[in-house]
């Protein structure tokens, strides 16, 4: 059991082993049941103080974490900060010191700089959960994606999963790549070359030039949100062009032989990266992802909060 234990923090999937990832997925199952009860609360983290430290605006991830925390009976505090880029660095160190002084048990952090969660985790004894750091990782999102795929297809090993969209700027993509590879999936990426990161094939993934090829190949498509800023920054000519060339449209799916599972981290840009009919269609598991999200986050909080590895003495019953 000790080899699968998570350690103090959850910073990313790159450093987790296959066993650790499966532990999180397996632990999430009973938490799904808690969310189905009339009283959606268990006393497991009663008295724990958890701070949601969000330096980037986020509604759905923050709410998902908040529900997870409250359903575990923890006390939560939300800090939303939009500090200027000049002050960001100072704020982080001082924030770490303040959190330590307040004896916060756990911190969920989202920050625009890659490495920010690790920066904080190295400086405070609290458990740190990375809710998304820059372009680097968003581990709970990937974990809930894995849980959703496993739930729908029965397994992950040997499954063809293609992540579509702006891979360059996507922490969801990176975390998914690590998680899928470790659990034995075949991983491919598809998107405009101007939004494909350097050297990505060296991680062991395929790259498709055209979305039609990806749809032909995939058992599951994880469609990433395309941000308006990318067009403004000149990475792609326009959103309309993006939809025409790379959009996951009903027409393309109709012409394909398979019926791939459709995932999306949300929020959906209907008509840009994905058509409404696809997002709302029979193969879409987008809403299941949301449900699984709370269960995964409860599982992560539970596993990180649960005891010290050195006192493995089981209590008497």
């Amino acid at each position: 059991m000790t080899s699968a234990a998570l350690g103090k923090d959850l910073l990313g999937l790159e450093e987790l082993s296959r066993d650790q990832i499966e532990l999180v997925l397996d632990t999430a199952e009973p938490f799904k049941e808690v969310s189905e009860r009339a009283i959606k609360k268990v006393p497991t983290l009663r008295g724990k103080t958890i701070v949601n430290l969000f330096y980037e605006p986020s509604t759905r991830t923050r709410i998902s974490f908040e529900f997870a925390e409250k359903r575990l009976s923890a006390d939560t505090v939300n800090i939303a900060s939009s500090g200027s880029s000049v002050e960001k660095g100072e704020t982080l160190v001082d924030t770490a010191r303040n959190l330590e002084a307040m004896r916060i048990d756990m911190v969920v952090m989202r920050h625009p700089s890659s490495g920010a969660a690790k920066f904080l985790a190295e400086r405070i004894p609290s458990n740190v959960i990375n809710g998304g750091d820059g372009w680097h990782e968003h581990p709970t999102q990937a974990l809930l994606d894995l849980l959703t795929i496993r739930g729908a297809l029965g397994k992950i090993s040997g499954v063809n999963v293609c992540i579509c969209g702006d891979i360059l700027h996507s922490r969801v993509a990176r975390s998914n790549i690590w998680g899928l590879l470790k659990l034995g999936a075949q991983v491919a990426l598809c998107g405009p070359p101007s939004l494909m990161p350097s050297g990505i094939e060296d991680l062991g993934v395929k790259v498709f030039r055209r979305i039609e090829e990806a749809i032909e190949w995939a058992d599951a498509l994880n469609v990433l949100r395309l941000q308006l800023e990318r067009m403004k920054a000149g990475f792609i000519p326009s959103l309309a062009e993006y939809n025409r060339i790379f959009g996951v449209t009903q027409g393309r799916l109709d012409r394909a032989k398979k019926d791939p599972l459709i995932l999306h981290p949300g929020p959906i840009n209907r008509g840009v990266e994905i058509d409404s009919r696809v997002a709302d269609g029979p193969n879409s598991v987008i809403l299941r992802q949301v449900t699984n999200g709370i269960a995964i986050r409860m599982a992560v909080l539970y596993l990180l909060a649960g005891g010290r590895p050195d006192s493995a003495e089981l209590s008497k019953s």
């Binding site: 003495e313 209590s315 008497k316």
Partner: protein
């Protein structure tokens, strides 16, 4: 599977079977009939024992609903027990309000598991009555908890462990005392 060297089997399959038959009868007597009874087994082996009791009751009085309860999330000692154990399945067949709930477990010792089970059951309704039915009561209570129905009382030292092995999980029916290893 050979028992470890410092252990002693104190009940065999036959004795366990006879105990369960008696316990099934006592459930009916205690509840004044089994129409309103719900058997809830505590993970892990309590679940299988509850199923056996349910089977025995069914042959004499008719079927009773069965449930399973995992109390890991309600433990009062989550910090001390080391790497978080995997949480098992909780399966409660209906709203428990006004029901006669019989909690079934393999060994009753400090009483903390039962305490956690009662906390958890509250979240599934307000039972009319909760009764406790255990195969082995080994004393050593740390909370004011008592069993209404007991298969066998066993006296052991505080550093000894009492293990209930059952066919469905362990491949054999046996109650075993393991000396001196503590818990």
């Amino acid at each position: 599977m050979n028992p470890p060297e410092n252990s002693l089997d104190i009940l065999d399959a036959g004795e366990i079977s006879r105990a369960l038959e008696r316990m099934a009868g006592e459930i009916g007597a205690l509840a004044g009939g089994t129409d309103n009874v719900v058997l809830i087994g505590i993970q892990r082996r309590g679940v299988e024992l509850a199923e056996r009791l349910g089977g025995l009751i069914q042959t004499t009085r008719g079927p009773v609903p069965l449930g399973a309860l995992d109390i890991t999330l309600y433990r009062d000692d989550l910090q001390a027990i080391g790497p978080a154990p995997v949480v098992g399945e909780t399966r409660i067949p209906m709203d428990l309000t006004d029901r006669f709930v019989v909690i079934v477990d393999d060994v009753l010792y400090t009483g903390r598991t039962v305490r956690a089970a009662m906390d958890e059951l509250r979240d599934f309704g307000r039972p009319g009555r909760i009764a406790l039915c255990v195969l082995i009561d080994r004393g050593g209570r740390e909370l004011p908890i008592q069993a209404d129905i007991v298969g066998h009382f066993v006296e052991v030292g505080s550093r000894d462990r009492v293990d209930v092995l059952i066919q469905e999980v362990d491949g054999v029916d046996s109650v075993r005392v393991v000396r001196g290893s503590g818990r």
